[in-house]
Symmetry: C2
Subunit: 239 residues, 2 copies
């Protein structure tokens, strides 16, 4: 039926990895059919890693303690490592990494400008929620890459990107001034809308069947939003 025509490639076998969150394993199969070709996938993921790094860099800059700076520095290093790994994969394909990233620059820079937050607590929330959501999403999407590449990219993205550190820092911030919670909850809700748009724009959607395809990945997005809600819950914030 129609479903068969829309299937551009056989769903890849799920790579044998321990996923960083339940959401990843749940979304892998659903997203794998809408994975872009390797070069745009890697270009977008590599530029996105730079954007997530810029947010973490800003968190390091505004961190009020040496302990926070050094912990967030380690998270920033993880994201840079993922960026470098993705660039190396692009080179391995014979692609020019800069040319592969460039088409995604304007959109992702605009996203960065929208989510960067006004102060240290907002920047922390940004790093915590957007890095978590997008790492889950791109790890799931990576399952649809050709064999070999899928596994390697899965490993590159399947790290915690400082999630525990960010959660611990945010808990401290909220404990020290509980009144900040409602502002941060609001900020988290705003963030997730922009972040979902970025995720959706990364899907290789066939314009002729766009509506059907978007509908079909709704369950995957529901899973990702579930993981997002669990992150908010962990801070005692209402999603």
């Amino acid at each position: 039926m129609l479903r068969l025509f829309r299937r551009r490639r056989r769903p890849a076998a799920a790579p044998v990895l321990t996923p960083r969150s339940e959401a990843v394993s749940a979304v892998r199969v659903e997203l794998a059919e809408l994975t872009p070709a390797p070069e745009p996938f890697l270009g977008q993921a590599a530029y996105l890693a730079l954007v997530l790094f810029e947010n973490l860099g800003r968190a390091v800059q505004t961190a009020p303690t040496t302990a926070a700076k050094t912990a967030l520095g380690a998270a920033a290093a993880q994201v840079l490592e993922a960026h470098e790994g993705l660039v190396t994969e692009l080179r391995g394909l014979g692609a020019d990494p800069i040319a592969a990233m460039d088409p995604f620059r304007a959109g992702l820079d605009e996203y960065l400008a929208r989510v960067q937050g006004a102060d240290w607590p907002e920047t922390l929330v940004t790093c915590y929620l957007t890095t978590g959501f997008l790492a889950d999403f791109f790890t799931g999407l990576a399952a649809g890459l050709p064999d070999g590449l899928a596994e390697r990219v899965g490993v590159l993205l399947d790290v915690d990107h400082g999630e525990r550190v960010l959660e611990a820092q945010l808990r401290t911030v909220i404990e020290q001034s509980p009144r900040i919670a409602s502002r941060l909850a609001m900020w988290g809700r705003r963030l997730i809308g922009d972040t979902m748009l970025i995720a959706r724009s990364a899907l290789a959607i066939d314009a002729a069947h766009a509506e059907l395809e978007v509908e079909r990945v709704e369950p995957a997005f529901a899973e990702l939003i579930g993981a997002h809600t669990r992150r908010m819950d962990a801070l005692g914030l209402t999603a």
Copy 2:
């Protein structure tokens, strides 16, 4: 004579390393007698690496091209790696890394605020000149650490910290708008004064003989300033 009293420890054997610049080998012997104890040395160098990382992070954020962002990201990763290596060495000594870094925070944060620059070209100059000068200086000073530690720290600091990348980016900036050169030359001269003060404050100087000790390291500073001048020359800027 007096010289003997001032000598707190035997000069360490110069580690067998290929120094990243001529300046390093020249200053090693002169600085090695004024090296602080391992814990304050490592604490200060580790916090300084965070400060240099913040400057590079700002350079990534303000970089106008994808190529510049990705190249500067690699430089930022190098500095973070040095930071993590120094923190690991502190742990190896049984020290609390945060407690070891904290005494240097206020002074280095103030330094950071003074040198961060107003825009992308100034931030680039800051990264290029201050990272170069301070990496030379601390690599030289590391020679006075106890055997074993001296060599390991020498290896951690003896990387190029993106010097080639920064130089190339700055050449492009200056080629594209040659009029910027005089502003950047002025900025470079301002920077080096602040940076020398930071370097000097890192020396373990015996207050009773401060004047003599400072005088004795003048040749080392002359070498470091020579390396600084070569960096300025490489850009066609007057030091």
